[in-house]
């Protein structure tokens, strides 16, 4: 469908954008890549009076890698992540998982900030943010603040952001070079939203046992979440089939997926089990 009518602004600073959002009193929306918001508007699921295009705001496209970790500006696009040699070394899980996001001509426009703001439970990036304990930098009328990614998402397509809040950047903690990790996803076609996906990483302690296990699930819960029972089944164990299967079973039990036209709840739960086993086996390569 054609888009409903709206006004358009393209401010050149974050401060101006926040002011426009505040003045819009909930009727104004940020426009980043537009790859989720414009379809939502075409379906008449949103009908904002004003779109605030972020494309002229400087400094939001930066990928910064240093000893404090990785910081991505809100307007970093999927194709920027895929084309960054620095990220392949500093946070290899990220480019690997982002290969699954959407199609070629959408990757040139979709942004990390937009993906966080849209909060689709089947989207890869919010799941990675939660799994990796990322911090979200936000600017609103009251100034700048930070919040952990897992407090940003409150439900399907819902966040804890206020109507005048802008995600400015996301920070991922440092990633040890010898960390074990894997990402596994199932979708019917390359680039489609996941029916289920798993992000996993862990470190090995001096005795070769699993420590610091992080298991995140995407698309099988109403918001991206870590699975503490699966992580507990891994921590302190030698990395082998036995604990991998126990963790996968715990993960399937912990998920309470909803059924929709794409997949039944049982099917999604079964995918979680299979994908986590596959991912954990992959960490051994």
């Amino acid at each position: 469908m054609k888009l409903p009518p709206f006004d358009y602004a393209s401010p050149t600073s974050i401060t101006d954008a926040v002011a426009l959002l505040a003045a819009g009193k909930g009727e104004a929306r940020l426009l980043a890549g537009g790859q989720s918001l414009l379809p939502v508007m075409a379906f008449r699921l949103a009908n904002p009076a004003l779109l605030i295009d972020m494309r002229k705001i400087p400094d939001l496209q930066t990928i910064a890698v240093d000893d404090r970790g990785v910081r991505l500006g809100a307007l970093v696009r999927w194709c920027d992540i895929a084309n960054s040699p620095a990220l392949k070394k500093a946070l290899p899980l990220l480019p690997n998982a982002i290969e699954h996001v959407a199609h070629y001509a959408i990757q040139t426009r979709g942004t990390v900030g937009g993906s966080l703001g849209h909060a689709d439970p089947a989207a890869e990036f919010p799941g990675l943010a939660v799994t990796c304990d990322a911090m979200i930098e936000i600017e609103g009328s009251a100034g700048r603040r930070e919040m952990p990614a897992n407090t940003l998402f409150t439900g399907p397509l819902q966040t804890s952001l206020g109507h005048d809040d802008i995600i400015v950047a996301i920070r991922f903690p440092p990633w040890p070079a010898d960390r074990k990790w894997a990402f596994e996803e199932f979708s019917r076609r390359h680039g489609d939203f996941a029916l289920a996906a798993i992000a996993v990483f862990y470190d090995l302690d001096d005795s070769g046992r699993i420590a610091n296990a992080h298991v995140g699930v995407i698309a099988a819960t109403d918001k991206p979440t870590r699975l503490p029972t699966a992580e507990a089944a891994l921590n302190g164990q030698m990395p082998n089939s036995e604990c991998f299967i126990a963790a996968s079973e715990a993960a399937a039990q912990a998920c309470n997926p909803s059924a929709d036209i794409h997949a039944s709840a049982d099917y999604r739960r079964s995918l979680v089990r299979t994908l986590l086993t596959r991912a954990l086996r992959k960490t051994l390569n």
Partner: protein
């Protein structure tokens, strides 16, 4: 609102309402009807055009967002009557039937092969996952894209 950009190396300036997509602007205001619009929500790929060297959905880009950009549509791929190497490969391999999806597939592949002239078949298949074709079954499209790679290695420039 006024939006001013280059399309197929021609400077244009149009007065549009913010809700007008780039796709509708190209078709209705600029009469460049080679760009096809179908799903209007990013799924089918028929509307893909090249903006500043990158393939984008013209149904998910506002005409006002195109301000200041350089755009290539399907009309800009060939030079007058002479088909581009990619178009010649499509003809040779019968890579189209009804032709509805074809402008979007050609623009997508043109941008992709310009940046990745050494892409393997798997990468080409992945890119084509974003373009729906109801007729061909894709086999001939992939064959054409594989053959056209040599022209891109030799430097078929995205405009």
């Amino acid at each position: 609102m006024r939006t001013t950009f280059h399309v197929n190396q021609r400077a244009v300036s149009v007065d549009v309402s913010p809700r007008m997509t780039l796709g509708d602007c190209l078709r209705h205001e600029l009469k460049l009807t080679g760009t096809h619009i179908a799903c209007e929500h990013g799924v089918c790929g028929a509307c893909t055009v090249i903006v500043d060297g990158e393939a984008v959905r013209s149904c998910l880009t506002l005409a006002v967002q195109a301000d200041g950009t350089y755009i290539t549509t399907i009309e800009g791929l060939s030079d007058g009557e002479a088909l581009s190497p990619l178009q010649l490969a499509f003809r040779k391999h019968h890579a189209l039937q009804c032709g509805f999806c074809t402008p979007g597939i050609l623009t997508t592949l043109h941008a992709f092969l310009t940046h990745n002239p050494d892409a393997d078949e798997n990468a080409i298949r992945n890119v084509l996952s974003g373009n729906l074709c109801r007729c061909t079954g894709y086999v001939s499209i992939i064959a054409a894209a594989m053959e056209a790679r040599s022209a891109y290695r030799a430097g078929a420039i995205a405009r």
